[in-house]
Chain length 118, copies 2
DNA sequence: TCCTTAGTTCAAAAGTTATTGAACAATTGT
DNA sequence: ACAATTGTTCAATAACTTTTGAACTAAGGA
């Protein structure tokens, strides 16, 4: 079973920008970039919203072509579509991620750990 | 008389992305980039929408910090805030513009000229 | 089999954005 | 002073997006 993804050449620039123009989704992308290579499932992002709400945002990212979602058992493993995005919009994802990393206003994944450690 | 603009360090990444994630506004930015140096007033963009609608979109671009609007007589001269955007989000504007230039789905400024010439 | 874990779907509500037309304001040219 | 040009504001509406909770599906482990 596989979920629908747009082909690389179907990825729309305004759509990608609109999808990234939401703080929750930008935080998801920033976290994916920081854990690149590690397979992440949806529950990793529960700091950013409810299960239902994340399902919605993750679907938006997938449908826009920003992420790839692989079904593995009951999990969905989510990765950035770095290569496809880079081929279609060179430099865009990198500059967005670099700017997002420096953005203190974005919600953080793992924010609760700070309290736990304290 | 001057219009309100955000300070460079007040420009928000998600807001910039959201504002650029609209085909009309992306077309405005692409045209501004193609005519950099030339002062453009609002009527240059009438191909993209009604006067009222453009006033709305141009205000969004200004309020997000993407453009600067200078009041000169009854005109508003609009320019890209290239330096401020580049300082805050290095490479972002360039990659967006480069991708927008190649996007055939964006509405074009001056599309009517094609008909006129034909 | 039964329970848990992981995530989706649906419908409703709330909030936001885009588009329109009519009325307005300010400047410029005659 | 008058008219034309440029663009804004306002209120209404239409269209979309986000968020929520309850109900659901599907896989995995006890």
């Amino acid at each position: 079973m596989t979920l629908p993804h747009p082909a690389a050449d179907q990825i729309s620039l305004p759509n990608v920008l609109a999808v990234l123009g939401d703080p929750t989704r930008l935080a998801i992308v920033r976290y994916l970039a920081s854990k690149e290579g590690v397979p992440l499932n949806c529950s990793q992002f529960l700091d950013l919203g409810s299960k239902t709400n994340l399902s919605y945002h993750l679907a938006k990212l997938r449908e826009a072509g920003v992420t790839r979602t692989e079904v593995v058992g009951t999990s969905r493993l989510i990765t950035l579509r770095r290569d496809d995005l880079n081929a279609r919009f060179p430099g865009l994802l990198d500059s967005v991620i670099a700017a997002a990393v420096d953005d203190p206003a974005l919600p953080a994944v793992g924010a609760s750990e700070i309290e736990v450690r304290a």
